[in-house]
């Protein structure tokens, strides 16, 4: 009841605030008049009576007290403060814009980066009990890792006690045909347990059962929500319908929910049981992704111990089929983010540094402004403004600034997140989960606001505390020292960022200077996938490729063309065991190699240099002796300085016919420019086709990449080449058309992405540091105008004064540079893993950064110095 009455009074007063103000003054005026009349009645003169009444009533204070009463008054004063603050900020647009932009950059950048990093690194994967999902890989001696085998998957499924469920999957790219245009889909072949491991239930229908996942079982598929909507109009009765995949009728058993995020293959839209055929030695291929759900209570560590123990026994039992291997178990989240984690953490740190620099800058600007306003506050305090009132006014101003900066920051963050997603390298996982993170935004905003408020109220407290004369005197030196310290900090932080960016830039330079082993410019690539039952005969498939090649060679502008089963730096990764026979000097040995089935002319088209022996020609076809070409590194590894020619090697299963080595070619980067994984065996596609025994799958090269070299700087005749392929058979999809030089560039995309972010942050840091140096110097020059005038009047030359000001700047910058270099030499250790053939203490980078920052500092001090020089002594002295 009482609260309601207070509320009603307050609202009524807010409604008519002018009237309420008048009421208060009227009532006091009436009291005053009555009191004066009473004094007069007691015999005082009218003047004396009025004075006595004034002394008693203290009308100004009383009216103020009456107006200040009530909760609504807080709103009234806040509104008034806000209006005043807006007027002040509008009167100083340069100051407002600088502070708001600084805050926007700091808050926006930090928010954007954190928004991107949070779902990738910190948020748990979108599966129930995601912590119990683990990935199992096989570690190689050289530090790399291999995929799992089906044989060991079965072993683990049977014997492991730490794993609740285990599944394997491999990528699969079927072509969906039907009423609409044929479309090549991204998908996965998975063991029946795959969805149980992830803990995903279908939205429609069912997932796979163990009986679906047997060799020879009827083809069944699950669809993603997106594919179901795109190709099947979200048909609610889809389960049981049949679709045509790779010319084969398959039955849809279900649709996965829209919320299902498949971190193992983000692009996958369709799933089919693995239906692995154990009969043909295929169980030993290292080409499966293995995931498992751990038993409650088991850890990645305990699972790893158990799996290694099981693995040791397993390898001992199958010594001829399984090379030595160490099994590595990681939480799925760690596995998925493993390659990007260091870079992302680093970028997050860089964003944090920019936020720090932004805060330092705001502090600097506000401190400088506080010094200028000290006189204003002293005056207002003298006129009766209480300390609380002054502080409230300043806090309002700071909050308004922070709000403007924060709003702009939110815009920067939203744009930044979009930019990040657009620029992100393909290996960045969980990209779809990225959105502006409100927690990060609030944190950044709160931090910046706190800094702004803390710094803003200092001058007000000082003005209210100290005697009134203090403010009238010239600004003291204490603040100056604080600001100088802040500039040093700013320069130091900028140095750290610049050095990091510089090191990454030099790494990228080195990386692009690396010899990929082939000449990329002028080469057009595309992938051709064979669709149709008629191609289940490898000979028929090969005939199609040969016909297509003949047609492509006729296209104007094409100088040479060839096919290969896998294309360097394209994401293809086709590894097999290569088994060398024992020789008098050496024991038998198996190594993992990249296998390329190529057409004659492949080495010539890509410009891969022949080191020894010969390359393939048209005589190497079915029926002739099997020949192979191996890479230089493999030849060196196996044969040292001896010649590799004439030796024999088997590829894949042990019981296949051996190939005779007839040539050695230069190493080619297959997976990435930075990795040395160049062991490779090339075989003629024609001969490979003749030896294929399997039903349709692993060893049949039904997907080939076409490489076409065109005359220099002729536009790539992609359309004409495509038509030429279709002239051989018009139903075959031609996909992944790209220039080889683009593939090379894309293979460095993660590094380029990190570099781009660092460059952006380093530039922001440099700009903020320059603004900070300028701000402090401009402030100190303004404060010293008088002193400079006196010096000039006493005969100091312009050069003297210029030196005086610039020296001050350079001292600050010098200290900052020294601190920054020390900090950088420590902090850059964190990025060693991302550097490529550049030391973390690379002297050229450090020197370059020092020169750059010194130049910027010199420029930032130039403007205030110039202003100081032009001071006319007469004006300054007269102004006193």
């Amino acid at each position: 009841m009482a609260a309601w009455r207070q509320l009603a009074f307050g609202v009524r007063r807010l409604w008519r605030s002018a009237g309420a103000d008048r009421d208060a003054s009227d009532e006091v005026a009436h009291f005053l008049a009555e009191m004066a009349a009473a004094y007069e009645a007691r015999g005082l003169s009218p003047d004396a009576a009025r004075r006595a009444a004034h002394l008693d009533v203290a009308p100004a204070a009383t009216v103020e007290a009456l107006r200040a009463y009530g909760w609504e008054n807080v709103i009234v004063t806040a509104t008034r403060d806000l209006h005043f603050a807006m007027r002040r900020l509008r009167a100083e647009p340069a100051f407002t814009i600088v502070v708001a932009l600084t805050l926007a950059v700091g808050i926006g950048a930090t928010t954007a980066i954190f928004s991107a990093v949070n779902p990738i690194l910190f948020a748990s994967l979108p599966y129930p009990n995601a912590n119990r999902i683990a990935s199992i890989v096989e570690g190689r001696a050289d530090g790399g890792q291999n995929g799992g085998t089906f044989a060991f998957f079965r072993e683990l499924a049977e014997r492991s006690r730490t794993l609740e469920t285990i599944a394997v999957a491999r990528l699969w790219q079927p072509t969906l045909s039907g009423a609409a245009e044929p479309e090549r889909l991204d998908g996965q072949r998975v063991s029946a347990s795959y969805f149980a491991v992830l803990g995903v239930a279908p939205a429609i229908g069912r997932t796979f059962t163990a009986s679906d996942d047997r060799a020879g079982a009827p083809p069944l598929v699950l669809l993603s929500d997106a594919l179901w909507r795109r190709r099947f109009n979200a048909d609610p009765a889809i389960a049981g319908r049949t679709i045509t995949l790779d010319d084969q009728i398959s039955t849809v058993v279900g649709v996965l929910p829209a919320s299902f995020e498949n971190v193992l293959a983000p692009a996958a839209e369709i799933w089919m049981p693995l239906q692995y055929d154990m009969s043909e030695g295929r169980a030993w291929g290292h080409h499966l992704r293995t995931v498992a759900r751990l038993q409650r209570g088991a850890t990645a560590r305990s699972a790893e111990d158990e799996i290694n123990a099981l693995g040791l026994a397993f390898i001992a039992r199958h010594r001829d089929a399984y090379g030595p291997t160490k099994f590595v178990v990681r939480r799925l989240q760690d596995e998925v983010t493993r390659s990007v984690r260091p870079a992302l953490l680093l970028v997050l740190a860089a964003a944090g540094v920019v936020l720090m620099i932004a805060c330092v800058n705001v502090t600097n600007v506000l401190l400088a402004r506080g010094v200028h306003r000290r006189a204003e506050f002293a005056l207002r305090a003298a006129l009766g403004a209480g300390r609380g009132r002054l502080v409230r006014q300043l806090v309002t101003e700071s909050l308004l600034l922070a709000a403007i900066g924060g709003a702009a920051g939110l815009a920067v963050a939203a744009g930044g997140v979009r930019l990040l997603v657009a620029l992100s390298p393909p290996e960045l996982p969980r990209i779809h989960a990225i959105g502006v993170d409100i927690v990060a935004f609030v944190f950044g905003g709160a931090l910046a606001t706190a800094v702004a408020i803390a710094v803003a109220i200092v001058p007000a407290l000082q003005a209210a505390r100290s005697d009134l004369q203090y403010g009238w005197r010239r600004g003291g030196g204490g603040h100056h020292r604080t600001r100088a310290t802040l500039v040093v900090a700013e320069v130091a932080l900028a140095i750290v960022l610049l050095v990091t960016a510089g090191l990454l830039l030099r790494s990228l330079d080195r990386l692009f200077a690396i010899d990929a082993g082939f000449r990329a410019p002028g080469v057009l690539t595309m992938q051709v996938q064979l669709v149709g039952r008629k191609f289940s005969q490898p000979r028929v498939a090969y005939q199609f490729f040969e016909d297509a090649l003949d047609a492509v060679r006729q296209v104007p502008g094409v100088t040479s063309a060839a096919f290969t089963s896998q294309l360097p730096l394209s994401g293809d990764r086709d590894e097999y065991g290569a088994h060398f026979e024992a020789t008098p000097e050496r024991q038998a040995e198996s190594v993992s190699v990249f296998r390329y089935a190529v057409s004659p002319g492949y080495f010539e088209t890509l410009g891969i240099r022949l080191h020894d022996g010969r390359s393939f020609d048209d005589h190497d076809r079915a029926g002739t002796p099997l020949v192979a070409v191996i890479s230089e590194s493999l030849a060196r590894h196996r044969f040292g300085s001896d010649s590799a020619l004439g030796h024999r090697v088997r590829i894949g299963p042990f019981d296949t016919a051996p190939y005779t080595i007839v040539g050695v070619v230069k190493d080619v980067k297959q997976v990435s420019l930075a990795l040395n994984d160049a062991d490779a065996v090339y075989v003629p596609a024609s001969a490979a086709a003749a030896t294929i025994r399997s039903r349709d799958g692993e060893f049949g090269d039904t997907v080939m990449s076409l490489v076409v070299r065109t005359r220099d700087d002729a536009p790539a005749p992609a359309a004409a080449v495509r038509q030429a392929i279709w002239s051989a058979d018009k139903d075959q999809p031609v996909v992944r058309v790209a220039r080889l030089s683009d593939l090379v560039a894309a293979s460095a995309s993660a590094r380029r992405f990190a570099l781009l972010l660092f460059e952006a942050f380093a530039l922001a840091a440099l700009a903020l540091a320059a603004a900070g140096i300028y701000g402090v110097l401009a402030g100190s020059v303004a404060e010293r105008t008088h002193e400079i005038g006196v010096r000039a009047a006493l005969g100091a030359s312009r050069a003297d004064i210029l030196t005086l000001v610039v020296r001050q700047a350079m001292t600050l910058a010098g200290v900052g540079v020294a601190v920054g270099l020390a900090a950088a030499s420590v902090s850059t250790r964190a990025i060693t893993a991302m550097l490529f053939e550049v030391s973390a203490l690379d002297p050229i980078t450090y020197a370059g950064v020092v020169v750059l920052l010194t130049a910027v500092a010199a420029m930032a001090s130039g403007v205030p110095a110039w202003r100081a020089v032009r001071v006319d002594p007469a004006t300054t002295l007269r102004a006193e």
Partner: protein, 111 residues
Amino acid sequence: MAEPTTDVIQGTLDMLILKTLSLEPMHGFGIARRIEQISRGVFKVNPGSLLTALQRLERGGWLEGEWRETPNARRARVYRLTRRGRKRLDTETEHWSRRVSAIARLLRADG
């Protein structure tokens, strides 16, 4: 003005205002003057305290204010006790008498 004046005893101003207004409605200065008169000049009311107390009592619902034109064209706010105010006056008076008699007993007590 022989007797020295003193400020109203802390915490009793509200009660004095309510009592004064229970006699008849009046404006601020009238209340101050009446308190001084009835206390025979012992209590002097601080105008600032009085006016803010009036505002507080009105917002608490114990008084009701009304603007009236005075003969010399000023606006005067005249206050009147509400029912709620009268009830509060009764309880405050009772509390006060109890406290006064307790203090009186304490002061009379010897040994």
